[in-house]
């Protein structure tokens, strides 16, 4: 499932194919509409409380720019600070190397199980699968990730990964699977969210209490102090970060921040953009190790895995500023209808459409830059002002260029565009086409819309309905109603 560049799931159905299936799933669309609408409203309410929200966004963007333009400097400082505080720093060029490092660290403890805090980066490198191959069981402890793991499923949203599941499905998964992983679901488990959360609490608590090794991601790390932080809601993060003897944190190199003080911007931007709360219930920050409190062995794995290649692109590098809040998913009309699975990547939605092709190379994800209407809602929502439409357009050009370089035959789009250019440049041709359009369209329309067309237009129309053109064009209407009367104002 991991491709040559080690970001999981690519090579799954391309976006248009996966999207068509998702669009036919009415349950999924209902769940998504409710979820994205709810989070959107909450986010708008709490961001409106801060009258300097735009200044905070600008500062967030500038801080990320400051970090990325001197990334080497900040990483070296972070390494020094973490080491000085009693932690160990490891560097990984790609997913395989990161997985090898983590596996070796786990094995050195003599343990065969680890508890995990929800993290995008360990999904990106398929760490759980890599550990399983070496005989280590990795238990996801975030409720949604637990649902996904027990259901042998994939996350579909950055913040609420199991949003595609309803309560009855979750109850069935718990009843069927919990016993295979540990404490079984209680007898007579209902589908009330409170009961389901309680079942998860009981199931996971025995794992927390015996866990000796934990694996987490990081929301940020301050280069000046070496402080690493994780934000969460449930307390499973605190369990993993506090109770085990060994803590292994995997962090993308772009997550470093120049200073601890910079958190004053991100701890305001992140919770409000993400869950629509003024602050998430729990934020844990630790600096190396503390005697008598928490893990006594701390390892920080700094991961590249396509990030330096992304950094090289002066337009595309802004995607590395992403703080994984998922605000762009919740405002995206494409995501709201297709859900996260259609993107075929751990990073779905608008940010996934720009981040994934850059991390793996556009040639491995060439449909993703087109999985957008370019409406710009994601840019407006982004707390660090990533100009996602700009990067999408930039990557589209790269995809076209890559196809052209491969010497493929002209695409249907190219042929259509060429024909359109010829028609639009000639008034005579245009009115001839317009005269023919209505009768022709009526032949293929149903209830006023044109659906699936055969032939070269098939790929365009398969996922789009078009309105039937009006009987009369504007130009014809103008001639009929105002013809010869221009002078009689």
């Amino acid at each position: 499932m991991t491709d040559s560049n080690n970001v999981v799931w690519l090579g799954a159905p391309s976006f248009p194919d996966a999207a068509r299936e998702a669009l036919a799933d009415t349950q999924l669309r209902t769940n998504l509409r409710k979820a994205t609408g709810t989070i959107r409203d909450k986010r708008l309410a709490v961001t409106a409380e801060l009258d300097d929200w735009e200044q905070l966004r600008t500062a967030g963007k500038a801080l990320k720019r400051r970090t990325l333009r001197h990334l080497d400097h900040h990483l070296v400082r972070l390494e020094e600070a973490v080491t000085k505080a009693g932690g160990q720093v490891h560097w990984a060029a790609d997913a395989a190397e990161a997985n090898r490092i983590v596996t070796a660290l786990v094995k050195a403890t003599g343990q065969t199980e680890v508890v995990k805090v929800k993290s995008m980066v360990t999904q990106e490198i398929a760490l759980n699968e890599a550990l399983a191959e070496e005989g280590v069981s990795a238990y996801e402890t975030d409720l949604a990730e637990l649902i996904v793991q027990l259901g042998d499923d994939r996350p579909s949203h950055i913040l609420v990964p199991a949003i595609h599941r309803n309560r009855a499905e979750i109850r069935d998964i718990f009843r069927r699977e919990m016993g295979k992983w540990g404490r079984p679901a209680p007898e007579g488990l209902t589908d009330r969210p409170r009961d389901l959360a309680e079942a998860a609490r009981l199931h996971l608590r025995e794992k927390f209490l015996r866990a000796k090794v934990a694996v987490s991601g990081a929301n940020f790390a301050a280069a000046d102090t070496g402080t690493v932080g994780v934000v969460e809601s449930e307390g499973n993060g605190r369990m993993c970060l506090t109770l085990p003897e060994t803590l292994i944190t995997v962090m993308g190199i772009e997550k470093v921040l120049p200073s601890f003080e910079d958190l004053e911007v991100f701890l305001q931007l992140l919770p409000r953009s993400s869950t629509g709360e003024r602050m998430n219930p729990y934020t844990s920050m630790w600096t190396g190790t503390t005697e008598g409190d928490g893990p006594q062995d701390f390892h920080l794995v700094l991961l590249d895995n396509g990030r330096t290649a992304t950094l090289k692109d002066t337009v595309g590098r802004q995607a590395l500023a992403c703080i994984r809040c998922s605000a762009c998913l919740n405002v995206c009309p494409v995501y709201e209808r297709t859900g996260g699975h259609a993107y075929g990547s751990v990073y779905p939605g608008p940010i996934g459409a720009v981040l994934t092709p850059q991390l793996v190379g556009v040639e491995h994800a060439e449909s993703l830059p087109f999985a957008s209407t370019l409406c710009g809602a994601c840019y407006d929502a982004c707390p660090v002002k990533i100009n996602i439409p700009e990067v999408l357009v930039h990557l589209r050009a790269e995809v076209v260029e890559a196809k052209r370089a491969k010497g493929r035959v002209p695409t249907p789009e190219a042929l259509v565009m060429k024909a359109a250019a010829s028609v639009l440049s000639s008034p005579v041709k245009l009115s001839a086409v317009q005269r023919l359009a209505h009768p022709a369209a009526r032949l293929v329309s149903r209830r006023g819309t044109i659906g699936n067309l055969p032939g070269p237009l098939g790929r365009w129309t398969r996922t789009r309905d078009t309105a039937v053109p009006p009987k009369e064009s504007l130009r014809a209407w103008w001639r009929r109603t105002r013809g010869g009367r221009e002078g009689s104002k």
């Binding site: 409710k34 409380e49 009258d51 300097d52 200044q55 600008t58 500062a59 720019r65 400051r66 333009r69 001197h70 080497d72 900040h74 990483l75 560097w91 060029a93 190397e97 402890t141 409720l143 649902i147 199991a162 949003i163 309803n166 969210p193 389901l196 959360a197 609490r201 927390f208 301050a222 809601s233 449930e234 605190r238 369990m239 506090t242 109770l243 190199i253 120049p258 601890f260 958190l263 004053e264 911007v265 701890l267 869950t275 709360e277 003024r278 602050m279 998430n280 729990y282 934020t283 844990s284 920050m285 630790w286 503390t290 008598g292 409190d293 928490g294 590249d304 330096t308 950094l311 090289k312």
Partner: protein
């Protein structure tokens, strides 16, 4: 060549467009955002914002603090209560129906899991976000103490309440293990229905002490 050299080398090559004369601090960061969004009465705002998370908030005076603590604990009907070192003796009620557990020598995770509640102070509070910040200082204990028992009663003094996040960050020691708590443990992972209490304490009680 180590992976460290490889990755740092790739970063430097990728940043060829950054002029050599530009230093890390030369990239400007406009800091014209507000230092605080707190209301004039930050203490009242703190109490209201903590309560917004469905935590219980009680305001009391120095003179009544001990009685208030006793009343909150009695209302829970606790049998075992963890009290970290350094918790002010004057605030700890005597008697009551509970057994006080001290973390010296350190309690095992099983003992902590079996304990029904924990009573702590805090390093500070944040008015705008309704957050209490623990830094493992006196009266707060190590992090596991406020995590495993199902009930957390936290005493915050009015003069510990910071207006907003920037001020709070300026007042803590980054090198201490920090836990920021905003309401009880919560999840919205099932159909976005909010449920309090998944893994952390299901109930958070805050007592704000000060004034007349």
């Amino acid at each position: 060549m180590t992976t460290r050299d490889t990755v740092l080398g790739r970063i430097r090559a990728a940043l060829a467009d950054v002029p050599a004369s530009e230093g890390p601090d030369d990239v400007p960061v406009p800091r014209d955002y507000r230092r605080s969004h707190a209301e004039p009465d930050a203490v009242a705002q703190f109490a209201a914002r903590v309560a917004d998370y469905r935590a219980t908030v009680t305001r009391t005076t120095d003179a009544d603090a001990r009685v208030t603590v006793a009343a909150r604990l009695a209302a829970r009907g606790l049998r075992t209560l963890v009290v970290p070192d350094g918790f002010p003796a004057g605030l700890l009620p005597e008697g009551g129906g509970w057994t006080v557990l001290r973390d010296e020598p350190p309690l095992s995770v099983a003992e902590l899991d079996a304990a029904e509640g924990v009573l702590t102070t805090a390093a500070l509070g944040i008015a705008v976000t309704g957050t209490i910040v623990l830094d493992a200082g006196p009266g707060q204990g190590r992090r596991a103490l406020t995590l495993l028992p199902d009930y957390h009663l936290c005493v915050v003094r009015e003069d510990q309440i910071a207006g907003d996040v920037p001020e709070a960050l300026g007042r803590v020691d980054a090198r201490a293990p920090l836990t920021w708590i905003s309401g009880p443990s919560a999840t919205s992972d099932i159909e976005l229905d909010r449920v309090e209490g998944v893994h952390g304490p299901r109930t958070l009680d805050v007592i704000v002490v000060g004034g007349e």
